[in-house]
Symmetry: C2
Subunit: 226 residues, 2 copies
């Protein structure tokens, strides 16, 4: 299986094996029934931009980033997908983002055509697909609002968001490196790092290693992320 130990090239990997999942059309609750499990290793591409969108995915463990790159190499991370999240559902036939495993990732793979066919005759399934898209839209609009804020506000918002999605008491265990955070927030890695340091110095957070964050003053973070 393809394993990129280094920053991925912009070329899409064509040599990955995608075993189509076996029968999944039989239930009326299509979106929660599980497809075939599949694992990807760190930085491995799950699919590339403008590749045919034949499958959709549900994260079992690990984290996935979807992103787009501009001609000059600037990268914008569109979303992080955590356990329980689905991704890869498109309206058209091609993916509009690339998707990569951040660390080791296990996903379940569903055949898009089967899901669409089901949606055509089951209004509940259809509604679920709509809901999934609508949620992503909300997220995208929130993201837009984020990008007009200051660096401090962006990182505060990010920490609160991650806390709410991963919460273990007052601690957050970030699955992604600083560069991913930077590309998600529209900042440079240096600015992100400085903001972490600034929050720590202000006792707003505590750091044990770069990925393990203790939220010491959630009220302050909340205020900043407004």
């Amino acid at each position: 299986m393809l394993t990129l130990t280094q920053a991925k090239p912009f070329t899409s990997g064509s040599d990955r094996a995608v075993p189509p999942p076996a029968g999944l059309e039989n239930s009326s609750d299509a979106l929660s029934l599980m497809g075939a499990p599949m694992t990807f290793s760190r930085n491995e591409e799950i699919y590339g931009e403008s590749e045919p969108a034949d499958y959709l995915y549900k994260v079992v463990s690990g984290a996935v980033r979807t992103y787009r790159v501009l001609d000059d190499g600037r990268r914008q991370i569109i979303a992080f997908h955590l356990p329980g999240d689905m991704f890869g559902m498109e309206f058209g036939d091609a993916h509009r983002c690339s998707a990569e495993a951040i660390g080791s990732v296990t996903v379940r793979v569903l055949k898009r055509s089967a899901v669409l066919a089901l949606a055509d005759r089951d209004s509940d399934a259809s509604r679920q697909i709509w809901e999934m898209t609508a949620r992503e839209l909300q997220r995208a609009q929130d993201h837009t609002l984020l990008l007009i804020k200051t660096a401090e506000e962006r990182l505060a918002y990010f920490l609160m968001e991650m806390h709410s999605r991963l919460s273990a008491r007052n601690e957050v265990n970030l699955p992604m490196p600083r560069q991913d955070i930077a590309d998600y927030l529209g900042l440079t890695i240096e600015t992100v790092s400085r903001m972490f340091t600034q929050f720590e110095h202000a006792s707003t957070i505590g750091l044990s290693g770069s990925r393990r964050i203790v939220l010491r003053d959630r009220a302050a973070l909340n205020r900043l992320s407004a």
Copy 2:
């Protein structure tokens, strides 16, 4: 016949006459129900954030802005809605943006509950609603990409987008004031104004009044907006 139209990403080249969007005319006739016409005057609110989303709207003439404001007053325009576009469809029961008439606007108003009820028994209608949301999602993601670019790139992109949606040969007649453009692009009004001046000085565009733009060098704009 009602077609659920959303802004499509601009395609460089080709002058098109005012867009009868391709692709979804084969909808069920049930969705052709036309709502009651209604007019709003300049800067009049059509609905507010977190109001109940009982209706959706289709622009007949004029232009509408949907936006959200942060606590400190910063405003982010989420989208401009031009003739043919629909807006106001939400997954939840409350609007997530405010909507205002930019100038004089005529819209047709549809009852949300009726559209949803229809979607529940008509898979074509259901699919159309999904498509509408999916297009908005695409737009939102493109918007996100926009916000990581430079001021020059943002304005170039904006002009190309408006051209593709309003195109009259090489001219664009902007329906919105500078402040709206600034709030859409995440810039200040001064920066937007300076960029217009810069483009004019470089003969990339021509200005007759502040709203009427002649695109003198679309190739340059396209290159910049990449």
